[in-house]
Symmetry: C2
Subunit: 103 residues, 2 copies
DNA sequence: CGAATCGTTAACCACATGGTTAACCGTAGC
DNA sequence: GCTACGGTTAACCATGTGGTTAACGATTCG
């Protein structure tokens, strides 16, 4: 669902993880270093990203490799695109409409 | 902040309101009819949208007119665009990388 | 003026979220 | 085999979120 994507991205740490994974797959340790929270906290964020389908996990030996699942994030981006198209088309009209109405 | 935009859009009712406002400004009653929650609940959602700068309010008589503030939502959309650009460029590589590594 | 309308504020409640520490599990390396 | 490493699970806690009902405030209309 689109809602899940936005929820997943609504936390800065999770968005940070997604940004790093945008540069390529990485282990949990590498993808999540430097956020200043404990490992269990990271683990929970990863669970959210995985359950919403934004991130995929592949266990290899003792390392867990993470990578993006673009399709799901694409749904959210599509919603954004649609909204932006509306704004672009209507913002000026909207603005004028408001000014007119207040006369 | 970008974070606020995502938070604002992470709730289906708030996203529904934004969608309606995408078609033009509307009063609180019109923009929020049919969501199946009480008026105070609506009021809180509007507060979030307003505080994050996604929605603008203009009080006119006893009616409150709402309209979108595209600039703020644009920040979130930009973030999305950047991520998508990364995916587009790197998804195939990422995929290949994973397969290679598991040999 | 009095009543209806549009919307907010206040007080409260249940549950989700995000963090912690402590303990654990599976794999890798000496 | 034992220890170190990468990461998760369990239990707990504080705070935030999203909803409710009740009451109120301001504007419009008869």
């Amino acid at each position: 669902m689109v809602n899940d994507s936005f929820k997943a991205l609504s936390h800065p740490i999770r968005r940070g993880i997604v940004e790093r994974l945008g540069e390529g797959p990485a282990t949990v340790g590498d993808a999540t270093a430097g956020f200043g929270v404990s490992k269990p906290a990271i683990s929970k964020h990863l669970k959210v990203l995985e359950e919403t389908g934004v991130v995929r996990r592949e266990v290899r030996g003792r390392a867990h490799w993470l990578s993006l699942e673009p399709k799901v994030l694409g749904e959210a981006a599509d919603w954004m695109d649609r909204q932006r198209a509306l704004w672009g088309r209507l913002f000026d009209v909207v603005d004028e409409y408001l000014k007119e109405g207040s006369r």
